[in-house]
Chain length 337, copies 2
């Protein structure tokens, strides 16, 4: 899922996004609550209409953002209380409120409001956060008021594999429409992410979508797919684009990251990736992209975002095909070891 | 013509530009010579291929930019010499060089290298610049080496109507494929622009395209069309977009400029202009655009540029139709008085 935090995927129109083969988009409850507010979005007919995206959509609950972005927050069993970074007003966010907001936003998949412990955190802190996340999940389920929205719970447990396993097993018993693994990619080493995903994913129902939040890179995604993950969200394709970087060649099993600002691209009149079907690769050269970046033209971000999104979706599509044809572990061996 | 100074129309892809009904795009010799250089663009197969625009294209000669943007410039009959604002190197630009660069860039229409006097300027200064522009034109014609590119001369003469008339009459005798009026919109009052255009345009061949450079607003364009002008370029649609502003309703004869950042649009769930066929108006609301601007999302610039370009092209298209149906002076009376 390309990330459209504030009801837009940065520098890319929904129309362009469709042509990147994007199927599902993520937006964020915390950010949209602060700006422009769920009331307005509901009045507009929901988030799909508001942002012009008629495909599937998921909203994150805001749990992660409350803990990572808000200052002056207090968390009790009742919920989180924090000051708006926009205007300083005090905002109370019990789990029920997050669900109420997500019901108003109207995405197809909504996420339970969770407590995401930082990395590193003591075992005691993580136990407390994981147990609270479970209690909050029950309240989220009770508060959820729209049968047309699928509510996914989030497995927490920090880097403690036994806590992850316990949380996953408890959640698996609840028969929910899909399951997420959260609280990874928060600063821990990549090898730890892999361990967490490998230990946790098989404990979640294989017949339900399993979603790894905030991931990822080629390697992280390939490893997670090998462990059974079906769904990802990540800002990487659009964020890299705004830094002038392109992801190239993932579907061949050997993807790399290029900085298009680099002098070696100045006179390179080949497409970014001649095998890529995206508008950028079909229309422009590396030299042109390099020129736009040096000229500080915002169009560079759009063109690189189009490519990077197409590339990462093409990467996961190629993996899916290789699994169906039983070639995955051989073809993508570079990422899996 | 939307302006694509540095081989791109800011924040809009060529694909989107087509769907704005844009037919012809302008790029700039001065800027492209400095960055990325005409050699690279020629090696890429010319400007059309380099920037992915297969429609008609015009390059300005750089005359205006040499005089308006360069420091440390000296101008003699031989040509202009200036320091690159990028790296300080000394660049010699005789008229022949501008044409040579434009031959390499490969636009469909190229412009003669002119001396554009500032506003205000004494009559003596303007006489000298206008005479030099004529001498340079002869050298441009001699230097021009591609039969597939149309070379347009530029009428100078500052705000002195008799000098404008003299220049126009001299140029009209040369039987060139089109004619431009330059050196307007350089700081003089709008009423003076109208006078210059009214006094000059009828002296240029009516069976050739007549192009008013660097204009303009609804009013300036309507008045210039009434005087016989066929072609414009202006940064207004894309520049306004980057300031969060939209042009609305020109084809009705009563266009206006809105600042979408304004609080009155925050909860306005109607399209920017329900009669506008553009992607932005067909997909999004004023409240959404207002939200993107407040959230500092670059996508706002793209969406407003798409609208503003469609709007100004729709405006001139509506005028053309009203002329064919003999309704122009009545329907657009607000702009013509």
């Amino acid at each position: 899922m390309p990330v459209g935090t504030l009801a837009n995927v940065k520098t890319v129109t929904p129309d362009q996004l469709k042509r990147c083969n994007a199927e599902m988009v993520l937006a964020n409850t915390y950010h949209l609550h602060l700006q422009p507010g769920e009331d307005l979005i509901a009045a507009a007919g929901g988030l799909h209409k508001f942002m012009g995206w008629d495909g599937p959509m998921l909203t994150d609950s805001g749990g992660f953002q409350v803990f990572s972005l808000s200052k002056m927050r207090t968390v009790t069993d009742q919920g989180a209380t924090f000051r708006s970074p926009r205007d300083g007003r005090l905002i109370e966010m019990p789990p029920e409120r997050s669900i109420e907001i997500q019901n108003q936003l109207g995405a197809d998949v909504i996420m339970a409001f969770d407590e995401c412990p930082p990395y590193p955190a003591s075992r005691e802190e993580v136990v407390a956060a994981t147990e609270r996340t479970y209690r909050w999940l029950k309240r989220c389920i009770n508060a959820h008021d729209r049968a047309d929205q699928a509510l996914f719970p989030i497995v927490q447990g920090g880097t403690y594999l036994d806590l992850r396993a316990k949380a996953a097993e408890e959640l698996a018993q609840l028969d929910l429409p899909g399951y997420a693994i959260g609280g990874v990619s928060v600063g821990e080493p990549p090898a730890l992410i892999e361990k967490i995903v490998q230990a946790t994913t098989p404990l979640l129902p294989p017949d339900k979508p399993r979603y790894l939040m905030g991931v990822g890179t080629y390697k992280e995604m390939a490893q997670a797919i090998a462990a059974g993950i079906d769904l990802f969200d990540c800002v990487i394709p659009t964020r890299l684009a705004r830094h002038g970087a392109a992801l190239v060649g993932g579907a061949t099993g050997k993807g790399s990251r290029w900085n298009l600002k680099n002098a070696r691209f100045r006179r390179d009149l080949t497409p970014l990736d001649e095998k890529c079907p995206c508008y950028t690769c079909q229309t422009f050269t590396r030299a042109y992209l390099c020129h736009l970046i040096h000229a500080k033209e915002l169009l560079a971000y759009t063109l690189l975002s189009i490519h990077n999104i197409t590339e990462l979706i093409g990467f996961t599509t190629a993996i899916r095909q290789s699994i169906l044809e039983d070639r995955f572990t051989v073809e993508f061996a570079d990422w899996l070891t």
